[in-house]
Symmetry: C2
Subunit: 332 residues, 2 copies
Amino acid sequence: MKNITLKELSKMLDVSISTISKALNDSHEISISTKERVREAAKQYNYKPNRTAINLKSGRASTIGVILPSIKNFFLSRALRGIENEVAKTDYNIIICVTNESYKKEVQYVQALTNGLVDAIIIAVSEETQVLENYDHLTNISKYTNLLMFDRVSDDVKCDKVMVNDYEAVLNAVKELQFMGRKRIALAATIHNLSVGQLRIKGYEDAIKDSHEPIIITGPEKRVEKELDKMIESEDIDAIIALDEEASLATFRVGKKKDILDSGKLALVGYAGRTISEHLTPSMTTINQHGKRVGRTAAELLLSRLENNDKEIEKVIIDSSLYKRETTNKPS
Amino acid sequence: MKNITLKELSKMLDVSISTISKALNDSHEISISTKERVREAAKQYNYKPNRTAINLKSGRASTIGVILPSIKNFFLSRALRGIENEVAKTDYNIIICVTNESYKKEVQYVQALTNGLVDAIIIAVSEETQVLENYDHLTNISKYTNLLMFDRVSDDVKCDKVMVNDYEAVLNAVKELQFMGRKRIALAATIHNLSVGQLRIKGYEDAIKDSHEPIIITGPEKRVEKELDKMIESEDIDAIIALDEEASLATFRVGKKKDILDSGKLALVGYAGRTISEHLTPSMTTINQHGKRVGRTAAELLLSRLENNDKEIEKVIIDSSLYKRETTNKPS
DNA sequence: TTGAAAGCGGTACCAT
DNA sequence: ATGGTACCGCTTTCAA
């Protein structure tokens, strides 16, 4: 049932294991004729070198572990694509682990990977981890395994980081809404527990601080939807900034139900993937975080650290862009 | 820079390697006091057993490889979730590889994984593989590594399979459209090259064969969109069955542009994820393939084979469901 | 040009 | 209760 080994080949050809090994690695020490014989037998018996043995021997796995909280999230799946594309240019492989926003699973995966399975880890931590603010599983390993955090990061962990300019992106988007004449802008979010959510909320607060008190609606998707439904008229809200796909779609549904989105009575800036944003009626203005570039940058940074571990720790910030669509194209 | 080893611990504590190993594995052979000493030192120096060494020694990796053509595809990402949930109940880990529909990458990944990195593989092959109809990389390994194919399968490979009832699902959906009074039903697809696409096309053809000639529009998304735009009126089409998300959305855009979807002049049954289908205006009727269940079933099947390799090869078929929404709720 | 042997980091059998 | 040793599959140094 198992793959054939050097030892077995060596028995069959009646030469030593080392000769087989060298022949297959095309060493100059071995005669052409022997190489031929060995290669032929190897092909015939479908010999494949055992990665586990090679890894153990070499002390490296040529593998990068990627730990993500979710892959249904459009930003993270784009980031993953960026990482893959970049890593594919090298001889490194990738192991992907998905924590489903669970702290426990995250700790398990970090443990499992840092036991020699990977040479480095790229991680966006889970929501639960950010709520608990417990990063011991990462601070512990950062001395032994090269670590890079992206998107959801923590100052507690000393490592390379790739982040999005969340604060400025929302600050600017809200200012843009004000410039368009919006007077009372509310914020909706289901990711208020995340570091990135808090940065975005700060951006919102700073943008509106000379205009009105913050109107902030947070919670699970259904709760946000219910609250919005009640508050939009009572609070006289004429624009909403939604910080994630769930909040954006909840806002969208309420706006449709009240028939205030098509008319432009309510403006909306959200976060969501391109496909869904463009197919909504009206199409949704979004803040695009350039996930693929974030992923690519993360991979580049980590790969360069694997080549030179002495370099200074880096923090790279990728700017977001505002993609204007129909939910912001009518005057208020 | 590396993790501490048993050997190093044994030097520090001045006991043999075997004693350390046994102590850490809580063997009854070791005295309580020694266990204490060893455990303490292990904790202090953050000892973690090297997976690679354990795998080499034990001859198994306790890992299942999952090879997918894409993860942005909603069905596949749901299937992945199902696999993860099921595998998480065991002590197996998962390695996820994404081929981006490339044959070459698929071969590479299969090679990389079957070198001892995983004990078994769950795969949905790439589009390119299905076009080339080259499954040698899978037939070769199936003797050594446990293999399970799902969704996109091939008779050339002898292994466990989990499939969707693609033929019947489309057959029934089209009959349903006919029952609703639709007279000229066209088919749109970008996945006509896939085994599942061909089964679905067959279902369509059989459903309409007593009614009219097949009207089949295939190609890349943009091409499908352009063709539809031209043909809908000229061919007098009053309903469309779209076989994948891209074709479904292309159809949707054309229908919106011509303003024939809201009125019910054109009916549409598509394939797409729940979120986007429900948020479209009008919301889209879809065929749901129960991806999560497909994934769960695949994992169950493979895990049971890992326990008992002698059992017969199985083929399980998961039925799809028609989720009726607004694109099919008006009379023609 | 070929082969013997050590070693990667563990486990487990057999002595002591 | 503890230690010695062989072994998993491969690479690599050194000797022949």
